[in-house]
Symmetry: C2
Subunit: 567 residues, 2 copies
């Protein structure tokens, strides 16, 4: 029977989950483990500039391809990454963080090794990781490791959450049967309780049969838990109108060119037509809601109806009744297959969506660029299949007013909101996009303030010859913070950088750097066919006013300031 090393087994298993790249940072407790990445056909090692960026990159990669993996070293490396992992946990992104740790014997002897706290306690970092991951394991012997690895990967994927694996340096060469890889991982969800599920289906179908104006509201966990194919089918089958939340804008399978698409619903920060369409519904089918402040216009949902069905990855709620462990995906699949649903829909007449085109601000060609104009006009530049990453702040609010063509994937971190995330995530996304199709474009929108946190990951893009569009919105500091508090306070100022020199400094060898500050310049760029082809790495500095911001951000900022001041 053929044998392979446990280290290779780990990476083969990860590779089987549609993963073509391992991210991370080398360190002396993981070096011999990293050798094993190179032994897996079709798997690439792509080093990050630091561990936080690695965690962000894996998050971005996973949002495109469904799962991702990165490797860091013990203590210093894993703690640097933990904020990124917490973000994946908060926002339901599946990934595995593999940490190379000291040999088992060194741990047992409590050796005072570098990268330890100096107190002989090797368990602290694992304890911390366990608080922001769905499941975590520390391998202590070879014989149980295969089962631990398989279980971890399964749990990450079926729960769409990050997991953590501590891998001792001495167990890389431990031999396991190669044939274990022939059995694919079981990634099926546990079945719903049949009785509870039936009750849910009956309840939902009953509500649907009575509804005159139902609305499907698609939120982030629908996308993260891979329920958008079912959501799409539900839309097609029912002809119900639908809206998305900010966190679900650009969700896979949910196309904005669909006749039933009403827009982005953000409570009373929504555009009036969207607000009216959603809030006048007599039935809301909510798919994968995450009702966080920035995702709901500071909790300003205001439906006219109490007929709300919430489908979640791990429970369902019909009006006030909660059905624990009735999971969204199998429930939707049963619903779609139900003849009772088709019957209930027999007499339903779709309520047409009245979509008013997003208003483009009227500005002359020589006018200075504004956020209001920029985000709407950007719609004309986007193409089918693009991946659009928007940083927390003006970008994540601004992108709401951009129309996405079909099959544009949106990535943003509206709940966790760690500034700097988008740059690392863009690296992961551009790697993932190219693995799918080299023509797939990746566009990053990041402010000059946020960029400073994680700028070096542009170097990783250059090193890997990736060709993203890096739109750097230069408004001279932390504009979102200025809107919330401290408009003139120097703590919201930053060192101005010469963004025009960044790609040269990182020695990007096939690069273009541009700057636009006038309406005509941006409009011309968005029409330029050469510019539209992702054949080089591009940095586009977009000059904007210091206090200029999308309208919805201005409103959100007022509310956040009030919440903070509440006693």
């Amino acid at each position: 029977m053929g044998k392979i090393s446990l280290g290779k087994y780990l990476f083969e298993r990860i590779h089987q989950q549609n993963v073509g790249t391992i991210f991370g940072v080398p360190g002396d407790y993981n070096l011999n483990l990293l050798d094993k990445v190179y032994e897996v056909d079709g798997l690439e090692w792509r080093g990050n500039c630091n561990e936080l960026n690695a965690a962000y990159a894996v998050d971005g990669y996973s949002r495109v391809k469904g799962f991702g993996a990165f490797v860091t070293t013990f203590g210093v490396g894993e703690l640097s990454a933990i904020n990124g992992t917490a973000g994946s946990f908060s926002e339901h992104v599946a990934s595995i963080h593999v940490v190379g740790i000291p040999a088992v014997s060194s741990q047992k002897n409590h050796l005072l090794l570098h990268h330890t706290l100096g107190n002989g306690d090797f368990t602290v970092f694992h304890k911390m990781a366990s608080m922001v991951t769905h499941k975590s394991s520390v391998i202590t012997e070879g014989s149980t490791a295969v089962a631990e690895i398989d279980l971890l990967i399964r749990e990450a994927i079926i729960h769409s959450k990050p997991v953590y694996l501590a891998y001792p340096a001495n167990l890389v060469e431990y031999e396991v049967d190669e044939s274990l890889l022939d059995t694919p991982l079981d990634l099926s969800l546990p079945p719903n309780n049949a009785d509870a599920e039936e009750e849910v289906l009956n309840g939902v179908i009953d509500l649907i049969s009575k509804a005159k104006k139902p609305v499907i509201l698609i939120d982030s966990c629908c996308a993260r838990h891979n329920c958008t194919p079912e959501a799409r089918q539900l839309i097609e089958l029912t002809k119900f109108g639908f809206a998305v939340t900010p966190m679900a804008k650009g969700a896979k399978d949910i196309f904005e060119d669909h006749e039933g698409y009403a827009g982005v619903y953000v409570g009373d920060l929504s555009y009036p037509d969207v607000k009216e369409y959603v809030e006048s519904a007599d039935l809301i089918l909510s798919l994968g809601a995450i009702l966080s402040d920035f995702n709901t216009g500071s909790f300003s949902y205001s439906y006219a109806t109490k007929n709300v069905v919430e489908f979640h990855s791990d429970y369902t709620k019909i009006k006030a009744a909660r059905y624990p462990e009735v999971q969204m995906k199998p429930t939707l699949q049963k619903l779609l297959a139900s003849s009772a649903l088709k019957e209930a829909l027999t007499n339903f007449t779709p309520v047409p969506v009245k979509r008013v085109p997003l208003p483009l601000e009227t500005l002359g060609p020589d006018a200075d660029l504004t956020q209001q104009w920029f985000w709407t006009k950007l719609s004309s530049f986007l193409q089918e299949g693009d991946v659009v990453i928007s940083e927390t702040g003006t970008s994540s609010f601004g992108i709401i007013q951009t129309d996405f063509p079909k099959d544009v994937l949106g990535i943003s971190q509206v709940l966790w909101g760690s500034i700097g995330y988008s740059v690392g995530a863009a690296f992961g996304a551009v790697v993932a996009a190219e693995e799918i199709d080299p023509n797939k474009r990746v566009l990053l929108f990041v402010g000059d303030g946020s960029l400073q946190l994680t700028v070096q990951e542009i170097s990783a893009m250059a090193r890997n010859h990736k060709n993203p569009y890096l739109f750097v919105l230069n408004n001279d500091g932390y504009t979102i913070e200025r809107l919330i508090h401290g408009e003139t306070a120097t703590y919201n100022d930053i060192q101005p950088w010469d963004h025009q020199k960044l790609l040269d400094t990182f020695k990007a060898d096939n690069a273009e750097t541009l700057r636009v500050s006038k309406v005509k310049e941006a409009a011309d760029l968005f029409k330029d066919e050469k510019f539209a082809k992702n054949d080089k790495i591009r940095l586009i500095e977009v000059m904007l006013g210091k206090m200029d911001a999308p309208v919805n951000l201005v409103k959100q900022a007022e509310r956040s300031a009030n919440t903070n001041a509440e006693n």
Copy 2:
């Protein structure tokens, strides 16, 4: 009676501890708290480019001035910083991390706010912080906050460890009596148990009275716990020879030009004369030992004697006997004041230290620079009062063979060893140094690989018009890792950067960038009087061979590789 806000109280108390700068990153849960920094006379806010760099900066600042403080926001900010705090914990550096958190009412209502894990649990981040800090507190009401703040700062300073304070956004304006500030914090150590202390003193003096060749070995915790004045007096009083460990090289008050200075002791990685002098001792007085792998040549101490006295911050050990809670500083003070010690020394004849000058590699002026030559030659450039920061890797090993003039402060992170640390620490150190004396020079030595993790903090130096010397050792990747494992593996390669453009990219307005690759170029630079004056920010790229490394690092790397492979 005058009242001040609790927010101002916090920063006034911090300012009283010799702190002139608050570091950190603004975020919407800390903005109104940051306003209070500006209300304290003599206190400056200096924002960092990201939170990990802020934690590193505070660590560097505290190593120069004894205490430091930084502010981040809830969740995202604090987790990004936690690796830096863990480093301060591991290496006994006093600091306070203040985290702006959501209002108490928002927490009580489990609001689904941004920067949360989405599960309504606001306690996770505090739990994580408590694992890598000496003490942590979450303010929940104004009335107890003053006592909590005072206790935290006291504990940080007397135990020389980081502490953590979570500060809710709604309690910034809570009023407290201003007069509370008139009573300085009690920073006295609790007294030693008198009987145990007397037993220790008698034991130590007995050993001293019998010793013919005693050696004082100064280690990191002697410096961190502010015992170097006592160590210095002990050297002067006893005339005993002394050595330092790598972690104590450049400790305050411990001068290498002293006739009793034997050199750096790193077990059998020491220079032969140092090894011989220390290991042939018949009594070792060890002050503040941290016996970690990189600090001891992988645990290769080999004293001829069993007469070892270990003074620690929280216990003393005489041969095999342990005296819990007999603390180093009061014990040394009693020892110095003891007439019995003077008697015991009456007949002592000092054993002269035979210091062989560090050998300078013989290279012609046109020869390529080598690590061996560079680190030794660097001695000629250093000046009294300099602060020297060396990154983990070739720099922290190389600096061991550099002679330090009087009063040079050395900063390195030999135990925790988080790569990238030195750049953030250099920003903190240069701010602290200037607060002491604008002529005080700060020199950073960082490899091109480590620089990539934290490069943006050079921007913070530029923004604050600081003038460090940034020596970037360009050896094309992670050389220390290559020595341990994977010499030709691509995971140890990095994207080459154009370091010559860095200061321009960060718009440093009074800057000089240089490159040296030949012996003559470096030798000329080290003699150049204009270059020697810290009147601008300077980046000096030092070109070195890919596998060139200080001799002691090569040996250490072999040992680390063996430890990792052990079963």
